[in-house]
């Protein structure tokens, strides 16, 4: 078994309104920053032990499918690194 960290990033699907990101963007503009757009995402760093990087990825994938992301509004990606 090898120790991995699986990083799951969950973001809103393209086209789904993100009022919090819009508010954050406006706050940055009020602070005088110039920016074109801002998207926010949730990032989960999951430490786990698995037989292989693929096995770690599969498990993290299932975590995203079953809980971390809501497929109605979210896309997600998974990255796996040895720890």
């Amino acid at each position: 078994m090898t120790a991995y960290t699986a990083t799951v990033t969950v973001r809103l699907k393209h086209g789904v309104l993100d009022p919090e990101a819009e508010t954050t963007k406006q706050a940055l503009e009020r602070l005088g920053f110039a920016l074109e757009g801002l998207r926010s995402a949730d990032r989960f760093e999951i430490d786990l032990e698995a037989e292989s990087a693929d096995a770690a990825r599969d498990r993290a994938d299932e975590m995203a499918e079953r809980l971390l992301a809501n497929p109605t509004i979210h896309d997600y990606d998974v990255e796996v690194d040895e720890r």
Partner: protein
């Protein structure tokens, strides 16, 4: 012969629902989620509140708690299930109903009275109304914007699964009358079975005559018969 009002940690409209149902002489009891559904459950309310502190997403944790398995089974057997506010979020998160209720367009918590247009009058939840009737019911949520992809929404509309839409006092579906930016002003939807319904507005807060309009009574009357009343 009892309607089970499921209480999660963080539910806060469970007692309101109990009182409202009591007022309508519908037999109901609050059930702690860990205790499971009682044998004689003849209806289920998923009440409003902030179950599990709305961690991750509103309703996400409660939707994955073991009692929801039982609720899904009961729903499949035709037991009436009504999700209100956080209960609506739980309903969508658990797959009982389609779509998602997410952050209001305003990014703010909104607590106000709204008008709803009754889209169907042939379900148990709306039999007390006429199709197109305008009712006044309060909302209180930060995450009530109905979101679903456009194609799926068209299918839901074609299948007559939209139960309520936000409207103005005259029943017009305007942008101004849409409090949270919900797609096509959707406020409540039906599940695959019409005995399952979820909505963000609070019928239990528009039932007792002491506290204002009572337009929500008809929705809760959907449990008539379900409770043996």
């Amino acid at each position: 012969m009892t309607v089970a009002i499921i209480r999660f940690g963080g539910s806060n409209c469970d007692r309101d629902a109990e009182r409202a149902l009591e007022h309508l002489e519908v037999d109901a009891e609050i059930v702690w989620h860990e205790d499971g559904l009682p044998e004689d459950t003849t209806g289920v309310v998923l009440p409003g509140g902030f179950s599990y502190g709305d961690y991750l997403r509103a309703g996400a944790m409660a939707a994955r708690s073991p009692i929801l398995e039982e609720v899904r089974e009961a729903a499949a057997d035709g037991v009436p299930v009504l999700g209100v506010c956080n209960g609506a979020q739980i309903g969508c998160e658990s797959g009982l109903t389609e779509g998602a209720f997410t952050t209001n367009e305003s990014a703010r918590f909104q607590c106000e009275h709204v008008y709803l247009r009754v889209e169907r009058d042939d379900t148990r939840w709306t039999a007390a109304y006429e199709e197109g009737e305008v009712i006044e019911v309060p909302i209180a949520h930060g995450e009530g914007r109905y979101e679903v992809d456009d194609d799926r929404l068209e299918e839901l509309e074609a299948d007559d699964r939209i139960l309520f839409r936000y409207c103005d006092a005259d029943g017009k579906l305007t942008e101004e009358a849409n409090p949270n930016g919900s797609k096509n002003n959707v406020a409540g939807v039906l599940g695959e079975r019409e005995t399952v319904a979820v909505l963000m507005p609070h019928p239990e807060r528009a039932t007792l005559p002491d506290i204002g309009p009572t337009d929500g009574q008809g929705i809760l009357r959907g449990f008539d018969g379900a409770s043996g009343a």
